[in-house]
Structure formats: structure tokens, C-alpha cells
Symmetry: C2
Subunit: 282 residues, 2 copies
């Protein structure tokens, strides 16, 4: 399996074991920065332009300077060149852009390439047990409250990480969040799609991240004769669905096998979606 | 004015300009870690034991290893020794404890001493204009949803920072959050206290940080003949109060002069509170 590599925006590689972030960088003191994560298969990054575009949107939401796109492309080139694609066909590429040291206006930036998490890879074929957890807020009106950073991929992911730990300690492997009124939202690091009577439904991009994988699903579904819709979904919709999935750039597509311990059927659309979205085979 | 100093837990000083955080430390990649901030006046740290105790509570909420208390005390001693107390009588001491580099179980830790923010110092005498902003969640039932990390002082402060920016761009200097139903909560980096008919009221510690300054207020009020209560407060209570304050360890006590542009009266209790809580004079 490949080894984690680090690149700076001038295109040079650095040893990941050497610190590059100051103790007073607001990226670490305040989680004040943004990131992106995308999949690379056989040295081909997937949806690089879309991820760089969303990265710029996140920067705008946090009122950070626009990310140095040319620099992130240089770092990407260096990492793709250095990765051992024969040893590991798949890798996860991440971009980071922080507000920088306190009192400066100098963002800190870097890119990392690393092996895909082994659990995520296994779940692509084995499926995933999820736990439903209340996210504490309603998607409306949060969508119109910019200070809550709806849809920004910020570095402040402590709650997302805590929710995943909470689920893992209780026999699940991942989480789908719902709102206090029961509306389905997203997972800590993924989106959710349900097959209801043969139609694919996913929550609207109101207060949640604009999933690039979900956007790909919308683009490619018509050619496959599939119907995809943004729908207000309730947590009880899991009880009547024919199947459901977690989607993200790195896992691509993972079937949900259980929700709060109750088994979910396997949708007839599973293999079509796997092929359509290009779930890598080992 | 003093210059920022950095110490490691072995008690050695390091140059703050030299990076000490790895690019894959979950403190920065996920805002996954905790911090504390306290005031030091004339080389005397205020409520150090209480801050270390709350630090340990935050670690527990995030399921981090318990902070190395002896190490943080060593770092504190080194910083207090190195600070130029003649040049600057007041300083802010902060502790950081992150989950550490991905795949390790080795928290990263450091302490910083730095001058008190000039705006906070000025506001102690001039007061502060605040804007009320919806925090998106109700304190109940969040208090019983541990995956939402209620009351933990985590590094994931991007929303707090965004709210302060939002207010500053609209003529205010700080924020008081309320819940969707209108319940007052806290500020992004402070607590709020209202004088209603001569009694001091502050929101219960349900889903908000257990303020050490508010705890001090409760301890010292009886000797001054003051009545302090935890109360469910509504945002409309600002319209009937005799005055209100922001409290935190570093600012100590700051009178709110305006709420959403409307002037607030100056409470008759202001000077008593200033003396009681020990607001430093310049």
C-alpha cells in the first residue's frame, strides 16, 4: 500500500513527518480553514475541476482569500508523479487552505495524498451499518444564515468525527444525520440516497454540502433510464425504501445494510449505480 | 507590548514562527482537539486549576486522552518566567491538545502566551455593541446529544469566528447567540449576563460552555449582596433589562452598550461587578 505524501503549492514534496503548521495558525487554533478530498485512480484524479470549484466556494463562505488554484494543481501534479500507482491503484488526494497564523493575512496551504481508508474500501462490497443521529438543526432556515457556514467544507469537523465515534462504539460504522423534525440531511463525510419505488431520492442541498458524487449521479442517470430527484426525506422513509446508499468522492458508493440495527433491502439498482459511478474494483 | 511566546510540555520555549504541527494532525485536518484560554495579570494566572479541570472535561467529551496536566503546568511556568511583565502586565495564556497525526494515538500539545487583544481591552471601558444571531439549535435536547459536543471547548470554532466577522461587517463588535425559539445561549467566545430588576440572570449551562467567570460570579455574589440566577432567557429580555454584560476569562467583564443597534441602559451594578470580578485597570 502506498505511503502518505505531502506537497506544497510550489510543487515541492515535503516529509509528512516534518511539521509545516504554526502553533498559532487559525487552521488549528480555531478550525478556521477549508479542505477538499477526491479520489485518484490509476493516476487520474476524479472531478478535479469540480473539487477546485467547490473549494473556492467554501473559501468564499468563510471569507478566506480565494485558494491558489494554480498552486494546488502544481501540488497535485507532484503528488500524482510521486505516488506508486503499481503498488496502489487508488489514493485519496486532499487540499488544505487555512486562515494562517494569527494576525497575518497569509493562508497556509498544502496537499496530501494517502491510501484510501481500508474500512471504506471494504464497505464498498460489504455495505455499511449506519446509525441515525440528530444533527440539532433544521436545514431551513439555516440555508439563509451564512454565519452558520451551511454547505462550507470547513476544517471544523469535530462534531462529524464525534458522531462517527459514537456510532462505532454502538455497533454501526457510519452515521446519517437528521434534523430535530426528522428530515434526513447527510452523513458526517457523505451524502445519502434512497431508492423509493424505483426512483432515487436525495435531500436538497440546503444546509448540507453540495455533493459532487450526487451531482454526477444527476448528470449520468438519464442515460441509464434512472430517475433521480431532490426530495424532502423523513427518517421514516428508510422503513419504506427498497434500498439506500452513502455516496462520497472517496467511497463513491456504499450500500447501507442496516439502519439502527434493522436490515435494509438490497436495491435492484445497486449494480447499475456501481457501474455508472465507477466504483473501482480491486 | 509583549511578544507571543510558545512553550512545549517539557517546559522548553520554542520560536512561534517555527511550525510544530504536522499537515495531517487531526487538530488541523478535522478541528479535532481542545483548547483553553485564561488571563494572567502580573505573572499570576487566574483560575488555572479551574481551566485545567475544564480542559480535562473537554478531552473527555471528545474522547481524547486526558491532557498532560503536569506538562501544561511546566509550559505555564516557562511562559510566565519568560514574559516581560514590566512591559505588559496582562497576557492571555492558551493551552492546546489535539488528537495528533492521523493513524497515531499521540496527541500534540503546546501552550502560547500572547498580549490581550487590544479590542477586548478597549471594550472593557468603552463597552461593546452586539448583534443577536440564531445559533440554529435548541439547548434542549442538545444537552443530551453527546455527539454534538455540547459544552466542549473544541478547536472547531469556524462558526464562532464566522459569526463575529458577520457582526463586525454590520457595525457590531460581538455576538450573542439565541436558539430558533428565541432562547439566549452565549457569545462565540463569551457568556452573557442580564440585570433584570436588580437580579443577575444568565442562561443555564445546558448546551453551552461552563463559563469559569460565571462560576466566579456565583461564588462571589452573595458576599456583595448580589442575587445571581440561572434562568431561561428570551432574546426579548434585552428590551426589559437594566443592563447586560459579556463575560469571559480574558475580557473578564464588558458592558453591552447596544443590541442590534438599540442602546441598552448602564446597570447600576456595573462598578460592583467590575471590582468583584477584578477587571484589571491599565
Amino acid at each position: 500500500m502506498g505511503t502518505k505524501l505531502l506537497a506544497l503549492l510550489d510543487g515541492t514534496l515535503a516529509d509528512p513527518a516534518l511539521p509545516i503548521v504554526r502553533a498559532d495558525d487559525e487552521g488549528v487554533t480555531r478550525g478556521d480553514g477549508i479542505f477538499e478530498a477526491l479520489l485518484v485512480v490509476d493516476a487520474q484524479p476524479r472531478d478535479l475541476d469540480a473539487h477546485l470549484a467547490r473549494f473556492a466556494v467554501s473559501a468564499d463562505k468563510l471569507e478566506l482569500p480565494a485558494p491558489d488554484e494554480a498552486g494546488f494543481r502544481r501540488a497535485t501534479d507532484a503528488l500524482l508523479e510521486a505516488w506508486n500507482w503499481k503498488a496502489d491503484r487508488e489514493a485519496v488526494l486532499r487540499f488544505f487552505w487555512t486562515r494562517g497564523p494569527e494576525g497575518t493575512s497569509e493562508p497556509n496551504a498544502w496537499a496530501i495524498i494517502a491510501p484510501l481508508d481500508e474500512a471504506l474500501r471494504r464497505q464498498r462490497s460489504a455495505g455499511v451499518r449506519v446509525m441515525l443521529l440528530d444533527r440539532g438543526f433544521e436545514p431551513v432556515p439555516v440555508e439563509n444564515q451564512p454565519w452558520l457556514l451551511p454547505g462550507a467544507k470547513s476544517l471544523s469537523y469535530a462534531v462529524n468525527m464525534a458522531a462517527k465515534r459514537y456510532a462505532r462504539e454502538r455497533g454501526a460504522e457510519d452515521v446519517v444525520f437528521y434534523s430535530p423534525s426528522g428530515r434526513l440531511l447527510e452523513g458526517p463525510t457523505c451524502s445519502v440516497v434512497l431508492d423509493i419505488d424505483g426512483v432515487l431520492h436525495t435531500p436538497p442541498f440546503e444546509a448540507i454540502l453540495r455533493s459532487i458524487t450526487v451531482q454526477t449521479l444527476f448528470q449520468q442517470a438519464p442515460a441509464e433510464g434512472l430517475d433521480v430527484q431532490f426530495s424532502v426525506l423523513d427518517r421514516s422513509d428508510f422503513e419504506r425504501c427498497r434500498g439506500a446508499w452513502l455516496l462520497s468522492s472517496t467511497r463513491v458508493l456504499t450500500r447501507i445494510t442496516h439502519v439502527d440495527g434493522h436490515p435494509l433491502p438490497a436495491s435492484l439498482l445497486d449494480s447499475t449505480l456501481k457501474r455508472m459511478l465507477g466504483v473501482p474494483s480491486r
